[in-house]
Symmetry: C2
């Protein structure tokens, strides 16, 4: 004995728990004590599932909790919920938790997660304004609906915004979506975003674009009454913040860990802090890099959090591992419309200095004669010289979105449009036209490539 | 003038029409006359859609016809339906059609398609025994059902067999599937085929495995009465041949074109005959090669036919093009069960001399808590030394099958399991768990790889 070391993980969600679990796989309890500090009441819940719980598609809140406390005990991982880390002392190698207790560590993983963006406007703290980040947010919104809220304003037209718009409409509310950007889904090109915007209008959403929110108007009781922009005032019993997620780095900043240009903790590909390599950061609090451009990126998503946590846990456990980057692959739906993207959009390709071309095709999700065949639009962006695939976007009916994974895999592997056009994708009338729409898009891109 | 050449295409379906259309894109009518000879009454129909027309999902036969005669006229392509090519004279450069007319050609594309396998047993020509190859087959089966057929026996447990079993059951028939193989879907490994077999049993199909058919028993009127194997006799009002498709090469053989080991016309990667490079062959009548093994292969599928025809048309039109091989990607469904495969199964990997390993994982198609999340099983086969992905198989509920395209793309690109495990696939609760099941399978394969 005596040689046991201690890993302290700050944050008990995707990144932190993946780090803990992977470190435990590689190091026994005799070798490594693992303590996870989680400020909230639960660890390991699916934030992405909260809209669907609000919408009633997921009946039970507990279904969003991926792991029980007992499962951590079984792994000899000490999970301390309701325990807020208040200070990291890098020189001393300690973490101080609320109440004053100091925990020494040999290895530290900072996994403090994300922080929902909040516009700097009056009234944001009014009763009836909700985030969609914690399980408690979900419970609050459900309670507000149960109490008779009829009119909802969703701020933001990204993934969370769209998902919340959908579920609130499902629950019978009139939904207005207010966004500062000219179109929903800012990660899409204009032509694709327009399709989303039009479809949302057809579904009965009131989409107000190009309007930064100026004030949350409150009534005499201090409850939300409306959302005001320069253009109008939109009555609301309920306001949902769907403005995206930034890195939560207050603790890391205070400790002196270097922060990157994206605002996330600056880490190398092993998830080690660039300023303090003995400290790891992973998940929504950390900066990462884009696989195509090599540039710094911040993408708050559970998949990356899981993988980065796993990388940190591997390295701590003594196994070499490197994070391989992100493509910004993302997918969502609103009503029957599926929306997905990966890699670079044209704006990113321009900013990245690529000489690129973009091609867009229209197709169907199944053989055209098959019942339920829905329209699908696929856009691909390729490097003009090499023909390498740089990015892809898909908007279409049921069965469209997951096709983005083919483009994500092809970009990941460094394929050209021509190579993808020749590839052997599955075909059966209930699932695809003879040429899958993704292949058609790649073929058009490669045909153009050939002049 | 005077320099106009003539392209003759034998066969007016996927391969032949793709060749014609691509040649026309590259050569004007002044440069190249294009004549397509089709023995049947229609060109360009979807054979893969016939089961669904029989099943009533596709209401109108004409919906299976991809292109109208007028569309060929508009392209200056002379389509001669009902015109059977009877002889190719390679030395003279002529094709003789029924009736004796001889057409000279400068370029020839043989696209005679496939021939449904027929077991050499008595009774196969009885009334009530049908293929599923031509539109007329579909019409005949529909008529038999309308006339009161109650009991169907489907011979063969491949894609056509399963699809026909499904649609006949949908139409209210009792369906027995009789197959010589020990399990349905012979292109799957045993463990995956067993899942399909069990699921089919649960759906109410009577699946009789390991029983080569010995005789089609006929009644006094010469109509089918039962299918007899060594084990039993299965009463039938209707027998469907779903035994797969071989190359139709009678014309090519008679002309002296070299035939490959698979029975298809032996062609190089530009679709030129290896024995007579001035002649092209494409589609179900041609031999092709497997991208992973490099070995000769025959896969009768519209996607390959389209691409190969396009290659031939490009080369004839003066543009360099090469066919890039097949992975044997295939997909089908029976009831709610989706079945898909790509690359090498374990039998093929063994035959190919690979030192491989196979890993199988269980997952869900959506986030586990999301309504409609269905079970999915993913099997991946990797090269033991390099970690390269060799093959994949998927069996599962709705949303499972098309995920094979990620594996097909990864194998196509020469990715390792570890690379795929690190890739950035889409995640949203209605469409995927945080880690897509395909990524989980790749990760398990790569973890094992690391020891």
């Amino acid at each position: 004995m005596g040689a046991q070391k201690r890993l302290v993980v700050i944050g008990g969600d995707a990144a932190g728990l993946s780090a803990a679990a992977q470190a435990r796989r590689l190091r026994s309890a005799e070798e490594l004590e693992i303590v996870v500090l989680e400020q909230g009441p639960e660890a390991s819940y699916s934030a992405c599932g909260i809209p669907y719980w609000i919408g009633g598609l997921v009946a039970d809140r507990d279904r969003l909790i991926a792991r029980t406390p007992a499962s951590f005990t079984a792994q000899d991982i000490t999970l301390r919920t309701g325990t807020r880390a208040e200070e990291i002392d890098l020189a001393a190698g300690t973490v101080t938790v609320a109440g004053g207790e100091r925990l020494g560590y040999d290895h530290l993983v900072v996994a403090t997660g994300g922080r929902p963006a909040r516009p700097p406007v009056p009234g944001l703290d009014a009763a009836g304004v909700y985030g969609v980040h914690k399980l408690a947010d979900g419970a609050d919104i459900r309670a507000a609906i149960a109490a008779g809220a009829c009119r909802a304003v969703v701020l933001g037209g990204g993934y969370i915004g769209l998902e919340m718009a959908e579920v609130l409409q499902t629950r019978g509310l009139d939904v207005t979506v207010v966004l500062a950007d000219p179109l929903p889904m800012a990660q899409l090109d204009t032509d694709m975003g327009e399709r989303v915007c039009k479809a949302m209008g057809d579904m009965g959403f009131d989409v107000q674009t190009g309007q930064p929110v100026r004030e949350i108007e409150v009534d005499a009781d201090g409850a939300v009454a409306a959302v005001r922009t320069d253009t109008g005032s939109y009555p609301a019993d309920l306001v949902v913040l769907g403005l995206g997620m930034g890195p939560e780095t207050a603790l890391a900043r205070a400790a002196g860990l270097a922060i990157g240009v994206t605002g996330g903790v600056d880490v190398d590909r092993t998830q080690r802090s660039r300023s303090h390599p003995e400290v790891f950061a992973a998940g929504d609090c950390a900066q990462t890099f884009h696989r195509v451009t090599g540039e710094a990126a911040h993408v708050a998503l559970g998949t990356h959090a899981n993988k980065q946590g796993r990388i940190a846990g591997s390295v701590i456990g003594g196994r070499a591992a490197r994070f391989a980057g992100v493509l910004g692959t993302a997918m969502t739906k609103v009503g029957d419309l599926e929306v997905a993207r990966t890699g670079l959009c044209t704006t990113q390709a321009e900013q990245g200095g690529f000489d690129f071309r973009a091609e867009t095709i229209e197709g169907t999700t199944k053989a055209g004669y098959f019942p339920g065949a829905a329209q699908i639009t696929v856009k691909v962006i390729t490097d003009r010289g090499s023909g390498l695939l740089l990015g892809g976007q898909i908007v279409g009916g049921p069965g469209s979105g997951k096709r983005i994974d083919v483009l994500a895999t092809a970009i990941w592997a460094g394929m050209t449009a021509e190579e993808l056009a020749g590839s052997d994708l599955s075909y059966a009338p209930p699932f695809s036209p003879t040429y899958d729409p993704v292949v058609v898009a790649a073929r058009v891109a490669s045909r153009v490539e050939q002049g």
